[in-house]
């Protein structure tokens, strides 16, 4: 898990995402081009409503650009049918959400197991992988706990373990520390560092400057465009 190949995972070209509103069309993303390379660590910052999350959703193939193109591993995502897109997300992309979205009726281990089950991984392999991942995020002792028995930071760490369950090449995190206090947020940020160091490309949308500063590339968005790009 240490090699950092420079091949492109996802490439957005002149992407625009427009929403039809009663008052007229709103452009969440305007004519934006972006490339995410394997093993990259990119943070996207900007004021509320500037289009950060929309861009993340487009990169994660859960939203479709109104114009422009998106390729994932060289495949034109627009040409993929819904089932193929789901498979792409299942096997290549991990999502971490601000609100965790762990399933409350499942234990931490079962939450981590779930995407693997969907991917058709055998039960013994799933159990082993879930155990490894919970150990990786420091929650091996909490494997049998349900989300209601975990703290916010613990829930987000389980969510990260779940996102990594099918060994994705790209991890997308939308405000992963948004609901956490500073100290807990730093633990989660450190975990994302580690995930990236182990070879997974990470794109994180955040208002948290401390989290953004950990990325090697920081994109600042304004009015649906990349206003500034800094590289560490």
């Amino acid at each position: 898990m240490s090699a950092l190949p420079s091949s492109t995972i996802v490439e957005a070209t002149s992407v625009t995402r427009q929403f039809q509103m009663p008052a007229g069309p709103v452009f969440a993303v305007r004519d934006l081009s972006l490339t995410i390379a394997a093993g990259a660590y990119t943070a996207i910052q900007g004021p509320s409503g500037c289009g950060k999350s929309t861009l993340l959703h487009i990169l994660g193939c859960v939203d479709t650009p109104s114009s422009g193109s998106l390729t994932f591993d060289g495949q034109d995502v627009a040409r993929l049918r819904d089932h193929a897109r789901s498979l792409l997300r299942l096997r290549q992309i991990g999502f971490v959400f601000q609100r965790f979205y762990l399933l409350p009726m499942l234990t931490a281990a079962e939450n981590v197991e779930l995407p693997q089950a969907e991917a058709g991984v055998s039960k013994p392999t799933r159990l082993e992988r879930s155990r490894e991942l919970l150990e990786y995020v420091g929650l091996a002792a909490r494997a049998g706990h349900r989300p209601s028995q975990l703290s916010g930071g613990e829930m987000q760490r389980v969510a990260i373990a779940r996102a990594l369950a099918n060994r994705p090449r790209l991890l997308l995190a939308d405000e992963p520390t948004g609901e956490l206090d500073q100290a807990t947020g730093e633990h989660v940020a450190a975990l994302l560092d580690r995930v990236n160091a182990d070879g997974t490309a990470v794109v994180v949308v955040t208002h948290d400057s401390a989290l953004a500063s950990r990325a090697r590339r920081v994109l600042t968005m304004k009015d649906g465009r990349i206003d500034r790009e800094t590289t560490a």
């Binding site: 859960v62 089932h83 792409l88 999502f95 009726m105 996102a163």
Partner: protein, 394 residues
């Protein structure tokens, strides 16, 4: 599939109160549905069973109306002999009944059913004592025996109305030789039976030689007996048990089928609405979770299947629970309906038949599918990105 079912089960367990409510609702509705299915054919099946158990497969009347409802057969002994001579006929029993006042031990019962027969097969079952063997002997039903304090060996005095004739009939004494169960006897109604000569004697000899109907036991082929009777006596109308039941189905019994059809529609619609509302509320409360699962790569088919399995589990468990509940309810309702005056003791409104179970299961399956359509559509058409964005803003 088992993992999807297990997932759906855990989703239900997650909201125990709502799920329990849904299952109980389906159980209640399913029980009513089951009862309506039993009611729709219950009377017909019960009537058919009673007719079959009496040991006759053809009944012959003087006119088109059903036995006991039309004109009497005049010269019944001659008609009886004519039918007995047919090879397709094994035996013929004349049946005539009149209203009567019964007296015994200083107690009297008005409006008793006074039956008489002439033939080898008697349409009753002896439960105490023996059957009649002479014209001055009589068997009575349990209600009469208890009310008039009669037992084999007692004497009962009869005043028969004999076709509503004006002059008072003579009082005739009969010796009680047995207590019987009569298939069409109503509870709380006195009934007794003797021979046709015995009844004619009680009527003072007036209107002798008539019968309400002739009950025929075929030699084994009901259709052949029917055809032979129709050919031999075109002035009479023979009915098979099947035809009698068919007539009843077209007549008064049709109301029960219509009522049960309406109630089945209402109960299924109610179940449909109940489950649709429960599932829709449940899905709406976890749209964020569903969107997150889709973002994590769960296919549309999978999340739709989850909702369907939840519906199937609610309906399946409620449906299973509805069967014993429906059974108990049917017994209670049957008991209530049988208290109506004139309903024979052995007639049942709710009668179990295996195909009712099949229809019950099929209707509930259809309900589970239809009830899940709208919430499945909600999940299938869920815009992932918009939902995730709205959840954060919300």
């Amino acid at each position: 599939m088992s993992s999807v079912l297990s997932f759906a089960w855990r989703s239900l367990v997650r909201q125990p109160a709502r799920s329990t409510l849904g299952i109980l609702g389906v159980a209640a509705v399913g029980a009513l549905l089951f009862d309506m299915l039993l009611l729709s054919e219950g009377l017909v099946l019960s009537m058919r069973d009673m007719l079959d158990r009496m040991g006759f497969d053809v009944r012959v009347t003087a006119s088109e109306p059903l036995p006991g409802q039309g004109a009497d057969i005049e010269h019944a002994p001659g008609a009886k002999r004519a039918l007995e001579a047919l090879p397709a006929v094994r035996s013929v029993t004349s049946v005539r009944s009149e209203a009567a006042v019964m007296r015994g031990n200083g107690i009297s019962v008005p409006d008793a059913m006074f039956i008489s027969v002439d033939g080898p097969t008697h349409p009753w079952t002896v439960t105490d004592g023996r059957d009649i063997a002479a014209d001055d002997e009589m068997v009575v039903n349990r209600f009469t025996a208890d009310t008039l304090k009669l037992s084999p060996g007692s004497v009962v005095n009869i005043s028969a109305s004999c076709g509503g004739r004006a002059e008072a009939p003579p009082r005739t004494d009969f010796r009680v030789v047995g207590v019987v169960t009569i298939p069409f006897e109503a509870p709380q109604r006195a009934a007794g039976a003797t021979t046709i000569p015995g009844l004619e004697a009680a009527c003072g000899g007036t209107r002798a030689g008539i019968a309400d109907f002739l009950a025929v036991a075929s030699a084994g082929d009901t259709a052949a007996a029917l055809a032979a009777i129709a050919a031999a006596r075109p002035d009479l109308t023979p009915f098979t048990n099947e035809q009698i039941v068919g007539r009843l189905q077209q007549g008064g019994f049709a109301y029960f089928r219509q009522i049960s059809t309406v109630l089945i529609t209402v109960t299924v619609s109610f179940a449909l609405l109940l489950i649709t509302v429960l599932l829709t509320v449940s899905v709406n409360q976890r749209l964020g979770e569903v969107a997150a699962l889709r973002a994590l790569g769960f296919s549309r088919r999978r999340v739709v299947l989850d909702v369907f399995c939840e519906s199937a589990l609610i309906v399946g468990m409620g449906g299973l629970l509805s069967l014993p509940l429906g059974w108990v309810l049917a017994a209670a309702l049957d008991d209530i309906l049988k208290r109506m005056p004139g309903i024979p003791e052995q007639l049942h409104f709710f009668v179990f038949r295996p195909d009712a179970l099949v229809v019950h299961a099929a209707l509930l399956c259809a309900t589970a599918v239809l009830a899940a359509v709208y919430p499945m559509q909600l999940v299938a058409r869920l815009p992932i990105a918009t939902t995730l964005r709205n959840e954060v803003i919300g």
